[in-house]
Homo-oligomer: 342 residues x 2
Amino acid sequence: MTSIKDLAQHLGVSIGTVSRALNDKFDVKPATRERVLKAAAELGYVPNQAGRSLRQGNTGLVGFVLETSSEGMMQGDLFFIRVFDGMQSVLSEYGLHLMVMMSPSSEKSDEYLQKIVGRRLADALVLSSTRRIDPRVDLLADQNIPFVMLGRSQTDRGQPWLDLDFEGMVTDAIERLHARGHRRIVLAVPRQELNLRYVMLDTYRTQLARHGLAFDEDLVIETAPGDNGGVALAHHIMEMEDRPSAVIFSDPIHPFGLYRGLTEMGLVPGKDLAILGIATRLATVLSPNLTHYRVRLFDLGRRVAQALIHRLPHLNTENPPPVIRERVPFTLVEGESDLPLE
Amino acid sequence: MTSIKDLAQHLGVSIGTVSRALNDKFDVKPATRERVLKAAAELGYVPNQAGRSLRQGNTGLVGFVLETSSEGMMQGDLFFIRVFDGMQSVLSEYGLHLMVMMSPSSEKSDEYLQKIVGRRLADALVLSSTRRIDPRVDLLADQNIPFVMLGRSQTDRGQPWLDLDFEGMVTDAIERLHARGHRRIVLAVPRQELNLRYVMLDTYRTQLARHGLAFDEDLVIETAPGDNGGVALAHHIMEMEDRPSAVIFSDPIHPFGLYRGLTEMGLVPGKDLAILGIATRLATVLSPNLTHYRVRLFDLGRRVAQALIHRLPHLNTENPPPVIRERVPFTLVEGESDLPLE
DNA sequence: GGCCTTCCCGTAAACGTTTACGAAAATATG
DNA sequence: CATATTTTCGTAAACGTTTACGGGAAGGCC
């Protein structure tokens, strides 16, 4: 592998000159710059990242911390690749690379994160599966590591975040369902720690109140991620005493499980139970058509990357850069899974 | 951020001693090792990766080269996260990190890869979306970069690979369909460059011949990845003159599109067209149940990582390490989408 | 030609590690 | 106790960059 030293020797100039030529500094004659660039291309020289990192203190990598069997704001596998793709499309413009890191979940995640930042593996991080109280926020804030959350947390250190507009989703869903005569509406929420649970729950309560509906805690059902969770949820709901007529969920895999569960019981989705929540285009295969909320994941990824770029001191022109805190809205795709109650 | 120098100063010993103590070398008194470890834990010292990389020439990162809208051996988003998860579970044992890199597709991918290896961003790579003639293989082999392919290629430089057993899948599928009376069987293949296309095609031809069926090139249909591809495929098939009665596919998203396309046309999947191919557990939502082939993606990821570990000189004991070249078998999940022809 | 600018370029330090080498300290051997 | 051996540690070089600094070359001006 050719180093800058080889290149310098080959050209008969000093490594300093080579470096300046390649990095577009002043202090180098146009003619020699040409020579250097040409030789670099010929010898296939690419600067070693370790050397560069050591010297200038940044790695050119952006880490996305993905928790094993991640189930935060966007459960299931379906999502992330699109988001990554969007992120990389922005990062490339800045010569940065996305580095997806599989973090162990919850208990071990702080320790893991500490190692990552200690090793200085990445210049900046994206956190997903954000928890209501998230020690990772303090950990990163304390050490001045630039980061952006994909999701929100009550642990607020002024960090930027991007999140989907779950408030808007739940508000609209309840509105729709109420207008169609539904009165007992189940809210499927993820596990305890995740902040998403509280976002959904709070909105749910206030919106119920707004429509004059009573809050019944039995209608808030913690649901495991994935299709299995959906199946269990279907059974749970249909076996309840005062049977609910509708369900709202946030995991895009849930509808698959819900449909399956209902079918197993000989029931018809959309007829015996109104189903409404977040999904992807894959849901279009469901029959009857699923009424659902969608988001452009590629764009979300781009936005996340942009927010992150703002946090990187070494390529920041604006000062101070804006702290992005945004809820990305869903768009509704109408189907027949939330028909009026007969 | 505390460096090894800080730690040494704090302890009143030299940095050499600290380094040896942390890296479990000889030449250090048990008592001082204890002191060093204790102080390191207290000060939260973690060695800087750039420094370490520069010195010992390896980064501790394993790169997974994922092509944008990847459509190689396993199309769709559904898969990779599980595979990554499996990989990381092995890599962690060796202190390695997985780094997923979003590569531009095909035309630009060589250039991209060259930059990656030149920068020395990763110690080893995994290539996906393997093409029949894959210049990336030569590029990496020439520079002695350890790598493993997730998929196969005709470009053979003795590199290890892991692939799914598409031969077995197609063989079994034709066997099943033939036994059920199907004679005109469509093979949905991915685009030209991908090696998978030829693997499927070759097996298809030989198996047709084995069952005394004629090969008809109209029955080999290039299909775009994703559900859209599936929809188009359904229409294409149903509008053919001598209408086929079955289809075999390799993209796990295709069945969703196929079902949707057929339904749009007022046809019944499994009845008007037998559908058989690779899918994931998500397919269990389809009705009638999809007969499909599955694979344990987590285990596949583990296997890939193991194959990669064998290629890393600095943590290899066996010599010479085995070159893993394996086809991972599918398991069949029976449904009702490939019923006997009436 | 002498002097001052301007323009280029080489030198060397620094980033944080690991490790070969040799020196010093501790222990064993006579 | 002197010497030989072993154990432990400090020193310094090296990995590949970037960049502050100073100096030489070239050119302009009087």
